[in-house]
Amino acid sequence: MILGFVALRDVSLDIRPGEIFALLGPNGAGKTTLISIVCGIVNPGGGRVTVNGHDIVADYRKARADIGLVPQELTTDAFETPWATVNFSRGLFGRPPDPAYVEKVLRDLSLWDKRASRIMTLSGGMKRRLLIAKALAHEPRVLFLDEPTAGVDVELRQDMWKLVRRLREGGVTIILTTHYIEEAEEMADRVGVINKGEIVLVEEKAELMRKLGRKQLTLHLHDPIDRVPDALADYRLEIAGGGTELVYTYDTRGERTGITALLADLGAAGIRFRDLQTEQSSLEDIFVSLVGRGQ
Protein backbone atom coordinates (compact mmCIF):
# COMPACT_ATOMS: atom_id res chain seq x y z
CA MET A 1 0.00 0.00 0.00
CA ILE A 2 1.33 3.41 -0.93
CA LEU A 3 0.37 6.34 1.26
CA GLY A 4 0.68 9.97 0.28
CA PHE A 5 1.35 11.59 -3.05
CA VAL A 6 2.67 9.40 -5.86
CA ALA A 7 5.11 11.56 -7.82
CA LEU A 8 6.22 8.95 -10.37
CA ARG A 9 4.44 5.98 -11.93
CA ASP A 10 6.22 3.11 -13.66
CA VAL A 11 8.99 5.24 -15.08
CA SER A 12 11.34 3.35 -17.35
CA LEU A 13 14.05 5.39 -18.97
CA ASP A 14 17.37 4.52 -20.56
CA ILE A 15 19.87 7.32 -21.08
CA ARG A 16 22.63 6.70 -23.60
CA PRO A 17 26.23 7.43 -22.66
CA GLY A 18 27.46 10.75 -24.03
CA GLU A 19 24.08 12.13 -25.06
CA ILE A 20 22.23 15.26 -24.06
CA PHE A 21 18.80 14.23 -22.89
CA ALA A 22 16.17 16.86 -22.25
CA LEU A 23 13.37 16.05 -19.87
CA LEU A 24 10.38 18.26 -20.47
CA GLY A 25 7.32 18.52 -18.35
CA PRO A 26 5.01 21.01 -16.72
CA ASN A 27 5.41 22.05 -13.07
CA GLY A 28 4.84 19.13 -10.74
CA ALA A 29 5.27 16.55 -13.49
CA GLY A 30 7.95 14.66 -11.51
CA LYS A 31 11.14 15.86 -13.23
CA THR A 32 12.94 16.91 -10.06
CA THR A 33 11.68 13.85 -8.15
CA LEU A 34 13.11 11.60 -10.86
CA ILE A 35 16.48 13.35 -10.73
CA SER A 36 16.46 13.37 -6.92
CA ILE A 37 15.92 9.59 -6.84
CA VAL A 38 18.86 8.96 -9.18
CA CYS A 39 21.09 11.27 -7.11
CA GLY A 40 20.10 9.73 -3.77
CA ILE A 41 18.20 12.69 -2.35
CA VAL A 42 14.80 11.00 -2.45
CA ASN A 43 14.10 7.40 -1.45
CA PRO A 44 12.15 5.61 -4.20
CA GLY A 45 9.07 3.61 -3.27
CA GLY A 46 10.26 0.83 -5.58
CA GLY A 47 12.16 0.03 -8.73
CA ARG A 48 15.82 0.04 -9.66
CA VAL A 49 18.20 2.65 -11.04
CA THR A 50 21.71 2.07 -12.34
CA VAL A 51 24.29 4.66 -13.30
CA ASN A 52 27.07 3.44 -15.58
CA GLY A 53 26.16 -0.06 -14.43
CA HIS A 54 26.26 0.76 -10.73
CA ASP A 55 23.10 0.27 -8.68
CA ILE A 56 22.27 3.52 -6.86
CA VAL A 57 21.51 1.65 -3.62
CA ALA A 58 23.77 -1.41 -3.53
CA ASP A 59 26.71 0.34 -5.16
CA TYR A 60 25.86 3.92 -4.21
CA ARG A 61 29.45 5.10 -3.83
CA LYS A 62 30.43 4.31 -7.42
CA ALA A 63 27.07 5.45 -8.78
CA ARG A 64 27.14 8.81 -6.98
CA ALA A 65 30.83 9.41 -7.67
CA ASP A 66 29.92 9.43 -11.37
CA ILE A 67 27.11 11.97 -10.94
CA GLY A 68 27.16 15.75 -10.76
CA LEU A 69 23.97 17.57 -9.85
CA VAL A 70 23.07 21.19 -10.50
CA PRO A 71 19.92 21.77 -8.45
CA GLN A 72 17.05 23.96 -9.47
CA GLU A 73 17.18 26.19 -6.39
CA LEU A 74 20.08 28.59 -5.84
CA THR A 75 21.24 26.87 -2.68
CA THR A 76 24.67 28.10 -1.68
CA ASP A 77 26.66 28.68 1.47
CA ALA A 78 26.35 32.44 1.62
CA PHE A 79 29.39 33.01 3.86
CA GLU A 80 31.80 30.78 1.93
CA THR A 81 33.93 31.72 -1.07
CA PRO A 82 33.65 30.08 -4.51
CA TRP A 83 37.16 28.68 -4.10
CA ALA A 84 36.37 27.06 -0.75
CA THR A 85 32.99 25.70 -1.77
CA VAL A 86 34.19 24.13 -5.04
CA ASN A 87 37.10 22.49 -3.21
CA PHE A 88 34.58 21.32 -0.59
CA SER A 89 32.47 19.70 -3.30
CA ARG A 90 35.49 17.93 -4.77
CA GLY A 91 36.46 16.49 -1.40
CA LEU A 92 32.88 15.52 -0.59
CA PHE A 93 32.77 13.36 -3.70
CA GLY A 94 35.94 11.56 -2.70
CA ARG A 95 38.44 13.24 -4.99
CA PRO A 96 41.90 14.32 -3.79
CA PRO A 97 42.66 18.05 -3.86
CA ASP A 98 43.56 19.38 -7.31
CA PRO A 99 43.92 23.17 -7.24
CA ALA A 100 44.76 23.32 -10.96
CA TYR A 101 41.54 21.54 -11.93
CA VAL A 102 39.42 23.69 -9.60
CA GLU A 103 41.04 26.79 -11.10
CA LYS A 104 40.17 25.54 -14.60
CA VAL A 105 36.53 24.95 -13.64
CA LEU A 106 36.25 28.42 -12.09
CA ARG A 107 37.89 30.01 -15.15
CA ASP A 108 35.62 28.07 -17.54
CA LEU A 109 32.63 29.46 -15.70
CA SER A 110 34.05 33.02 -15.51
CA LEU A 111 34.22 32.86 -11.71
CA TRP A 112 37.97 32.98 -11.23
CA ASP A 113 37.98 36.72 -10.46
CA LYS A 114 35.36 36.12 -7.79
CA ARG A 115 37.07 33.14 -6.19
CA ALA A 116 37.79 34.95 -2.91
CA SER A 117 34.50 36.86 -2.67
CA ARG A 118 31.77 35.78 -0.33
CA ILE A 119 29.07 33.93 -2.22
CA MET A 120 26.39 36.23 -0.82
CA THR A 121 27.94 39.08 -2.83
CA LEU A 122 27.62 37.25 -6.17
CA SER A 123 24.83 37.93 -8.64
CA GLY A 124 22.13 35.36 -9.36
CA GLY A 125 23.81 34.37 -12.61
CA MET A 126 27.15 33.90 -10.86
CA LYS A 127 25.54 31.75 -8.19
CA ARG A 128 23.96 29.61 -10.92
CA ARG A 129 27.40 29.18 -12.54
CA LEU A 130 28.89 28.41 -9.14
CA LEU A 131 26.42 25.56 -8.70
CA ILE A 132 27.59 24.19 -12.03
CA ALA A 133 31.23 24.58 -10.91
CA LYS A 134 30.42 22.64 -7.73
CA ALA A 135 28.75 19.90 -9.73
CA LEU A 136 31.79 19.65 -12.01
CA ALA A 137 34.32 19.75 -9.16
CA HIS A 138 34.72 15.98 -9.00
CA GLU A 139 34.86 15.43 -12.78
CA PRO A 140 31.52 13.57 -13.09
CA ARG A 141 30.65 11.35 -16.06
CA VAL A 142 26.95 12.12 -15.77
CA LEU A 143 25.64 15.63 -15.18
CA PHE A 144 22.11 16.47 -14.13
CA LEU A 145 21.06 20.03 -14.81
CA ASP A 146 17.72 20.76 -13.16
CA GLU A 147 16.46 23.84 -14.97
CA PRO A 148 19.95 25.34 -15.17
CA THR A 149 19.02 28.48 -17.03
CA ALA A 150 15.94 29.47 -15.05
CA GLY A 151 16.18 33.20 -14.39
CA VAL A 152 19.39 33.54 -16.37
CA ASP A 153 19.79 36.23 -19.03
CA VAL A 154 20.08 35.35 -22.72
CA GLU A 155 23.84 35.90 -22.97
CA LEU A 156 24.60 33.74 -19.96
CA ARG A 157 22.19 31.10 -21.17
CA GLN A 158 24.05 30.84 -24.44
CA ASP A 159 27.37 30.63 -22.55
CA MET A 160 25.93 27.74 -20.58
CA TRP A 161 24.80 25.99 -23.72
CA LYS A 162 28.36 26.28 -25.05
CA LEU A 163 29.68 24.83 -21.81
CA VAL A 164 27.22 21.94 -21.95
CA ARG A 165 28.28 21.18 -25.52
CA ARG A 166 31.94 21.24 -24.46
CA LEU A 167 31.18 18.82 -21.65
CA ARG A 168 29.38 16.50 -24.03
CA GLU A 169 32.35 16.63 -26.37
CA GLY A 170 34.44 15.52 -23.37
CA GLY A 171 32.21 12.45 -23.03
CA VAL A 172 29.94 13.65 -20.23
CA THR A 173 26.33 12.44 -20.39
CA ILE A 174 23.95 15.31 -19.73
CA ILE A 175 20.38 15.14 -18.53
CA LEU A 176 18.65 18.49 -18.34
CA THR A 177 15.19 19.49 -17.31
CA THR A 178 13.94 22.73 -18.61
CA HIS A 179 10.95 24.94 -19.02
CA TYR A 180 12.55 26.60 -22.00
CA ILE A 181 11.51 24.50 -24.93
CA GLU A 182 14.03 26.31 -27.09
CA GLU A 183 16.71 24.97 -24.79
CA ALA A 184 15.71 21.38 -25.51
CA GLU A 185 15.32 22.22 -29.18
CA GLU A 186 18.76 23.83 -29.26
CA MET A 187 20.66 21.33 -27.13
CA ALA A 188 19.11 17.91 -26.87
CA ASP A 189 19.86 14.77 -28.82
CA ARG A 190 16.78 13.14 -27.38
CA VAL A 191 13.72 14.49 -25.66
CA GLY A 192 11.60 12.88 -22.98
CA VAL A 193 8.26 14.29 -21.98
CA ILE A 194 6.99 13.60 -18.48
CA ASN A 195 3.53 14.44 -17.29
CA LYS A 196 1.77 13.55 -14.03
CA GLY A 197 4.64 11.23 -13.09
CA GLU A 198 4.58 9.23 -16.30
CA ILE A 199 6.98 9.30 -19.20
CA VAL A 200 4.66 10.21 -22.05
CA LEU A 201 7.24 10.02 -24.79
CA VAL A 202 10.96 9.49 -25.43
CA GLU A 203 12.18 10.28 -28.89
CA GLU A 204 15.12 11.53 -30.91
CA LYS A 205 14.56 15.25 -31.11
CA ALA A 206 14.83 15.41 -34.89
CA GLU A 207 12.61 12.37 -35.29
CA LEU A 208 10.12 13.77 -32.82
CA MET A 209 9.85 16.98 -34.71
CA ARG A 210 9.59 15.13 -37.98
CA LYS A 211 6.96 12.69 -36.77
CA LEU A 212 4.84 14.97 -34.75
CA GLY A 213 5.57 18.22 -36.51
CA ARG A 214 2.71 19.98 -38.17
CA LYS A 215 3.34 22.34 -41.01
CA GLN A 216 1.45 25.38 -42.10
CA LEU A 217 1.30 26.69 -45.64
CA THR A 218 0.52 30.38 -45.89
CA LEU A 219 -0.63 31.75 -49.23
CA HIS A 220 -0.36 35.50 -49.78
CA LEU A 221 -3.32 36.32 -52.01
CA HIS A 222 -3.32 38.61 -55.00
CA ASP A 223 -6.78 39.94 -54.16
CA PRO A 224 -8.26 39.91 -50.65
CA ILE A 225 -11.23 37.65 -49.94
CA ASP A 226 -13.84 37.85 -47.18
CA ARG A 227 -14.89 34.17 -47.11
CA VAL A 228 -13.51 30.80 -48.17
CA PRO A 229 -15.40 29.45 -51.19
CA ASP A 230 -17.57 26.40 -50.43
CA ALA A 231 -15.59 24.35 -52.95
CA LEU A 232 -12.54 24.63 -50.66
CA ALA A 233 -14.35 23.78 -47.40
CA ASP A 234 -12.67 20.34 -47.09
CA TYR A 235 -9.25 21.98 -46.70
CA ARG A 236 -10.32 23.84 -43.50
CA LEU A 237 -8.53 26.96 -44.62
CA GLU A 238 -8.24 29.95 -42.32
CA ILE A 239 -8.32 33.52 -43.48
CA ALA A 240 -5.60 35.72 -42.00
CA GLY A 241 -3.99 39.10 -42.62
CA GLY A 242 -7.34 40.83 -43.07
CA GLY A 243 -8.30 38.59 -45.98
CA THR A 244 -4.95 38.77 -47.76
CA GLU A 245 -3.70 35.36 -46.52
CA LEU A 246 -5.01 31.84 -46.53
CA VAL A 247 -3.51 29.38 -44.05
CA TYR A 248 -3.54 25.65 -44.69
CA THR A 249 -2.46 23.31 -41.89
CA TYR A 250 -1.30 19.82 -42.77
CA ASP A 251 0.33 16.89 -41.04
CA THR A 252 3.72 15.78 -42.28
CA ARG A 253 2.92 12.24 -41.11
CA GLY A 254 0.15 11.91 -43.71
CA GLU A 255 0.93 10.09 -46.93
CA ARG A 256 -0.31 13.08 -48.84
CA THR A 257 -0.15 16.65 -47.77
CA GLY A 258 -2.94 17.74 -50.10
CA ILE A 259 -0.97 20.75 -51.28
CA THR A 260 -1.08 19.85 -54.97
CA ALA A 261 -4.82 19.36 -54.90
CA LEU A 262 -5.31 22.57 -52.93
CA LEU A 263 -3.34 24.64 -55.40
CA ALA A 264 -5.34 23.14 -58.30
CA ASP A 265 -8.66 23.83 -56.55
CA LEU A 266 -7.60 27.39 -55.70
CA GLY A 267 -6.96 28.01 -59.39
CA ALA A 268 -10.31 26.51 -60.29
CA ALA A 269 -12.01 28.82 -57.75
CA GLY A 270 -10.30 31.82 -59.34
CA ILE A 271 -8.13 32.61 -56.32
CA ARG A 272 -4.66 33.73 -57.31
CA PHE A 273 -1.69 34.09 -54.98
CA ARG A 274 1.55 36.00 -55.31
CA ASP A 275 3.70 34.25 -52.70
CA LEU A 276 3.70 31.30 -50.32
CA GLN A 277 5.61 30.09 -47.30
CA THR A 278 5.65 27.04 -45.03
CA GLU A 279 6.31 26.94 -41.31
CA GLN A 280 7.05 23.90 -39.13
CA SER A 281 5.59 23.69 -35.62
CA SER A 282 8.11 24.10 -32.84
CA LEU A 283 8.93 21.62 -30.09
CA GLU A 284 6.87 23.84 -27.86
CA ASP A 285 3.77 23.19 -29.95
CA ILE A 286 4.50 19.47 -29.81
CA PHE A 287 5.01 19.59 -26.06
CA VAL A 288 1.79 21.52 -25.44
CA SER A 289 -0.07 19.11 -27.69
CA LEU A 290 1.33 16.05 -25.84
CA VAL A 291 0.77 17.38 -22.35
CA GLY A 292 -2.63 18.74 -23.31
CA ARG A 293 -3.64 15.28 -24.43
CA GLY A 294 -2.81 13.90 -21.00
CA GLN A 295 -4.99 16.41 -19.13
Binding site: N43, D77, G91
Partner: protein
Amino acid sequence: MKFNHYAIIAIYKFEMARTWRTLAQSVISPVISTVLYFVVFGAAIGGRITDIHGVSYGAFIVPGLVMLSLLTQSIANASFGIYFPRFTGTIYEVLSAPVSFVEIVIAYVGAAATKSLALGLIILATATLFVPLSVAHPIWMLGFLVLTSVTFSLFGFIIGIWADGFEKLQLVPLLIVTALAFPGGSLYSIDMLPPLWRTVTLFNPVVYLISGFRWAFFGQAEVAVGISLAMTLGFLALCLGVVAWIFRTGWRLRA
Protein backbone atom coordinates in the same frame (compact mmCIF):
# COMPACT_ATOMS: atom_id res chain seq x y z
CA MET B 1 36.35 3.91 -2.79
CA LYS B 2 35.85 1.98 0.44
CA PHE B 3 36.11 4.86 2.87
CA ASN B 4 35.60 8.44 1.76
CA HIS B 5 38.14 10.17 3.98
CA TYR B 6 38.26 13.15 1.60
CA ALA B 7 34.59 13.79 2.41
CA ILE B 8 35.24 13.62 6.14
CA ILE B 9 38.09 16.12 5.80
CA ALA B 10 35.96 18.39 3.57
CA ILE B 11 32.98 18.52 5.97
CA TYR B 12 35.24 18.78 9.02
CA LYS B 13 37.22 21.68 7.55
CA PHE B 14 34.00 23.38 6.43
CA GLU B 15 32.55 23.18 9.94
CA MET B 16 35.76 24.33 11.61
CA ALA B 17 35.97 27.26 9.20
CA ARG B 18 32.56 28.36 10.48
CA THR B 19 34.00 28.42 14.01
CA TRP B 20 36.69 30.85 12.95
CA ARG B 21 34.15 33.03 11.18
CA THR B 22 31.97 33.11 14.29
CA LEU B 23 34.72 33.15 16.88
CA ALA B 24 32.84 35.51 19.19
CA GLN B 25 29.75 33.31 19.43
CA SER B 26 31.69 30.06 19.38
CA VAL B 27 34.34 30.72 22.00
CA ILE B 28 34.31 34.17 23.55
CA SER B 29 30.64 34.21 24.65
CA PRO B 30 30.74 30.91 26.58
CA VAL B 31 34.04 31.88 28.20
CA ILE B 32 32.60 35.20 29.39
CA SER B 33 29.47 33.43 30.71
CA THR B 34 31.62 30.99 32.65
CA VAL B 35 33.76 33.78 34.08
CA LEU B 36 30.59 35.45 35.32
CA TYR B 37 29.55 32.17 36.96
CA PHE B 38 32.88 32.11 38.77
CA VAL B 39 32.42 35.69 39.92
CA VAL B 40 28.86 35.15 41.16
CA PHE B 41 29.01 31.60 42.52
CA GLY B 42 32.69 31.21 43.22
CA ALA B 43 33.55 34.59 44.70
CA ALA B 44 30.27 36.10 45.94
CA ILE B 45 28.30 33.05 47.11
CA GLY B 46 31.22 30.67 47.43
CA GLY B 47 32.73 32.81 50.18
CA ARG B 48 29.76 31.90 52.40
CA ILE B 49 29.88 28.14 51.68
CA THR B 50 32.27 25.90 53.50
CA ASP B 51 34.30 23.25 51.75
CA ILE B 52 32.48 20.36 50.09
CA HIS B 53 34.08 16.96 50.69
CA GLY B 54 37.29 18.81 51.61
CA VAL B 55 37.36 20.80 48.36
CA SER B 56 36.92 24.58 48.35
CA TYR B 57 33.60 25.63 46.81
CA GLY B 58 35.37 27.68 44.14
CA ALA B 59 37.30 24.62 42.94
CA PHE B 60 34.30 22.30 43.45
CA ILE B 61 32.16 24.09 40.88
CA VAL B 62 34.86 24.10 38.16
CA PRO B 63 34.05 20.62 36.75
CA GLY B 64 30.33 21.42 36.88
CA LEU B 65 30.75 24.70 35.03
CA VAL B 66 33.01 23.10 32.40
CA MET B 67 30.41 20.34 31.91
CA LEU B 68 27.61 22.90 31.70
CA SER B 69 29.38 24.70 28.84
CA LEU B 70 30.43 21.44 27.23
CA LEU B 71 26.87 20.11 27.13
CA THR B 72 25.26 23.26 25.81
CA GLN B 73 28.01 24.00 23.29
CA SER B 74 28.20 20.41 22.00
CA ILE B 75 24.47 20.41 21.37
CA ALA B 76 24.45 23.93 19.91
CA ASN B 77 27.41 23.32 17.59
CA ALA B 78 26.26 19.97 16.27
CA SER B 79 22.57 20.85 15.93
CA PHE B 80 23.34 24.07 14.06
CA GLY B 81 25.97 22.32 11.90
CA ILE B 82 23.44 19.89 10.42
CA TYR B 83 20.31 22.06 10.70
CA PHE B 84 21.70 25.01 8.75
CA PRO B 85 22.37 23.09 5.50
CA ARG B 86 18.90 21.59 5.85
CA PHE B 87 17.47 25.07 6.27
CA THR B 88 19.35 26.58 3.32
CA GLY B 89 18.95 23.50 1.13
CA THR B 90 22.69 22.86 0.69
CA ILE B 91 22.19 19.46 2.35
CA TYR B 92 21.36 18.14 -1.14
CA GLU B 93 25.08 17.98 -1.84
CA VAL B 94 25.90 15.83 1.18
CA LEU B 95 22.95 13.53 0.48
CA SER B 96 23.96 13.07 -3.15
CA ALA B 97 27.65 12.48 -2.39
CA PRO B 98 29.30 9.05 -2.21
CA VAL B 99 29.52 9.28 1.55
CA SER B 100 28.17 6.86 4.16
CA PHE B 101 26.23 7.93 7.23
CA VAL B 102 29.16 6.87 9.40
CA GLU B 103 31.42 9.29 7.50
CA ILE B 104 28.84 12.08 7.72
CA VAL B 105 28.50 11.57 11.47
CA ILE B 106 32.26 11.37 12.02
CA ALA B 107 32.71 14.66 10.16
CA TYR B 108 29.85 16.71 11.63
CA VAL B 109 30.00 15.29 15.14
CA GLY B 110 33.81 15.29 15.09
CA ALA B 111 33.89 18.98 14.24
CA ALA B 112 31.26 19.86 16.85
CA ALA B 113 33.05 17.78 19.50
CA THR B 114 36.41 19.35 18.60
CA LYS B 115 34.96 22.80 19.10
CA SER B 116 33.34 22.03 22.45
CA LEU B 117 36.42 20.13 23.61
CA ALA B 118 38.62 23.12 22.82
CA LEU B 119 36.12 25.34 24.59
CA GLY B 120 36.13 23.07 27.65
CA LEU B 121 39.91 23.28 27.85
CA ILE B 122 39.82 27.06 27.43
CA ILE B 123 37.26 27.36 30.24
CA LEU B 124 39.40 25.09 32.40
CA ALA B 125 42.41 27.29 31.74
CA THR B 126 40.30 30.35 32.57
CA ALA B 127 39.23 28.71 35.84
CA THR B 128 42.83 28.40 36.98
CA LEU B 129 42.96 32.20 36.99
CA PHE B 130 40.26 32.24 39.70
CA VAL B 131 40.95 29.17 41.83
CA PRO B 132 43.95 26.95 42.50
CA LEU B 133 43.18 23.72 40.70
CA SER B 134 44.83 20.32 40.56
CA VAL B 135 43.67 17.34 38.54
CA ALA B 136 43.95 13.96 40.27
CA HIS B 137 43.40 11.86 37.14
CA PRO B 138 44.30 13.97 34.06
CA ILE B 139 43.86 11.12 31.56
CA TRP B 140 40.40 10.30 32.92
CA MET B 141 39.59 14.01 32.98
CA LEU B 142 40.45 14.25 29.29
CA GLY B 143 38.59 11.00 28.63
CA PHE B 144 35.40 12.31 30.22
CA LEU B 145 35.76 15.55 28.27
CA VAL B 146 36.08 13.70 24.97
CA LEU B 147 33.30 11.25 25.79
CA THR B 148 30.90 13.97 26.85
CA SER B 149 31.74 16.16 23.84
CA VAL B 150 31.15 13.31 21.42
CA THR B 151 28.01 12.02 23.15
CA PHE B 152 26.30 15.40 23.36
CA SER B 153 27.45 16.40 19.89
CA LEU B 154 25.67 13.26 18.69
CA PHE B 155 22.63 14.30 20.70
CA GLY B 156 22.86 17.77 19.12
CA PHE B 157 23.15 16.19 15.67
CA ILE B 158 19.88 14.34 16.32
CA ILE B 159 18.21 17.57 17.45
CA GLY B 160 19.50 19.33 14.32
CA ILE B 161 17.84 16.67 12.17
CA TRP B 162 14.64 16.61 14.24
CA ALA B 163 14.19 20.39 14.34
CA ASP B 164 12.04 21.92 11.63
CA GLY B 165 12.54 25.50 12.75
CA PHE B 166 15.00 27.66 14.65
CA GLU B 167 12.62 27.68 17.65
CA LYS B 168 12.94 23.91 18.07
CA LEU B 169 16.69 24.21 17.66
CA GLN B 170 16.75 26.41 20.76
CA LEU B 171 14.09 24.50 22.63
CA VAL B 172 16.06 21.45 23.73
CA PRO B 173 19.24 23.25 24.88
CA LEU B 174 17.15 25.80 26.76
CA LEU B 175 14.41 23.70 28.26
CA ILE B 176 15.97 20.28 28.70
CA VAL B 177 19.73 20.60 28.95
CA THR B 178 19.76 23.65 31.19
CA ALA B 179 16.99 22.11 33.28
CA LEU B 180 19.04 18.91 33.65
CA ALA B 181 22.44 20.54 34.11
CA PHE B 182 21.56 22.90 36.96
CA PRO B 183 19.93 20.30 39.25
CA GLY B 184 22.56 17.82 38.05
CA GLY B 185 25.05 18.95 40.65
CA SER B 186 27.00 21.42 38.55
CA LEU B 187 27.04 24.01 41.35
CA TYR B 188 26.52 21.77 44.41
CA SER B 189 26.94 18.22 45.61
CA ILE B 190 23.81 16.09 45.30
CA ASP B 191 24.72 14.74 48.76
CA MET B 192 23.56 18.15 50.05
CA LEU B 193 19.98 17.33 48.96
CA PRO B 194 17.32 15.71 51.17
CA PRO B 195 17.24 11.90 50.61
CA LEU B 196 14.08 12.00 48.44
CA TRP B 197 15.42 14.65 46.08
CA ARG B 198 18.78 12.93 45.96
CA THR B 199 17.04 9.76 44.74
CA VAL B 200 15.04 11.76 42.17
CA THR B 201 18.24 13.41 40.96
CA LEU B 202 19.79 10.02 40.22
CA PHE B 203 17.37 9.75 37.27
CA ASN B 204 19.11 12.77 35.76
CA PRO B 205 21.83 11.54 33.36
CA VAL B 206 23.82 14.76 33.76
CA VAL B 207 24.48 13.85 37.39
CA TYR B 208 26.66 10.96 36.23
CA LEU B 209 28.61 13.09 33.76
CA ILE B 210 29.39 15.76 36.31
CA SER B 211 30.10 13.25 39.05
CA GLY B 212 32.53 11.28 36.88
CA PHE B 213 34.22 14.44 35.68
CA ARG B 214 34.51 15.74 39.25
CA TRP B 215 36.04 12.44 40.33
CA ALA B 216 38.78 12.93 37.70
CA PHE B 217 39.64 16.24 39.41
CA PHE B 218 39.33 15.46 43.11
CA GLY B 219 39.41 11.67 43.28
CA GLN B 220 35.98 11.57 44.95
CA ALA B 221 32.45 11.59 43.64
CA GLU B 222 28.82 11.41 44.67
CA VAL B 223 28.31 8.41 42.37
CA ALA B 224 30.80 5.57 41.74
CA VAL B 225 32.96 6.46 38.73
CA GLY B 226 32.22 3.11 37.07
CA ILE B 227 28.50 3.88 37.11
CA SER B 228 29.18 7.37 35.71
CA LEU B 229 31.20 5.90 32.88
CA ALA B 230 28.61 3.21 32.15
CA MET B 231 25.77 5.75 32.07
CA THR B 232 27.71 8.04 29.71
CA LEU B 233 28.58 5.15 27.40
CA GLY B 234 24.95 4.01 27.53
CA PHE B 235 23.75 7.45 26.40
CA LEU B 236 26.41 7.43 23.67
CA ALA B 237 25.16 4.03 22.45
CA LEU B 238 21.55 5.29 22.49
CA CYS B 239 22.48 8.36 20.41
CA LEU B 240 24.44 6.18 17.95
CA GLY B 241 21.43 3.89 17.58
CA VAL B 242 19.10 6.82 16.89
CA VAL B 243 21.51 8.30 14.30
CA ALA B 244 21.86 4.91 12.57
CA TRP B 245 18.05 4.65 12.39
CA ILE B 246 17.78 8.20 11.02
CA PHE B 247 20.16 7.46 8.17
CA ARG B 248 18.69 4.06 7.44
CA THR B 249 15.20 5.48 7.07
CA GLY B 250 16.18 8.92 5.79
CA TRP B 251 13.92 10.47 8.46
CA ARG B 252 13.78 14.26 8.00
CA LEU B 253 16.66 14.02 5.51
CA ARG B 254 15.38 12.22 2.44
CA ALA B 255 11.89 12.76 1.09
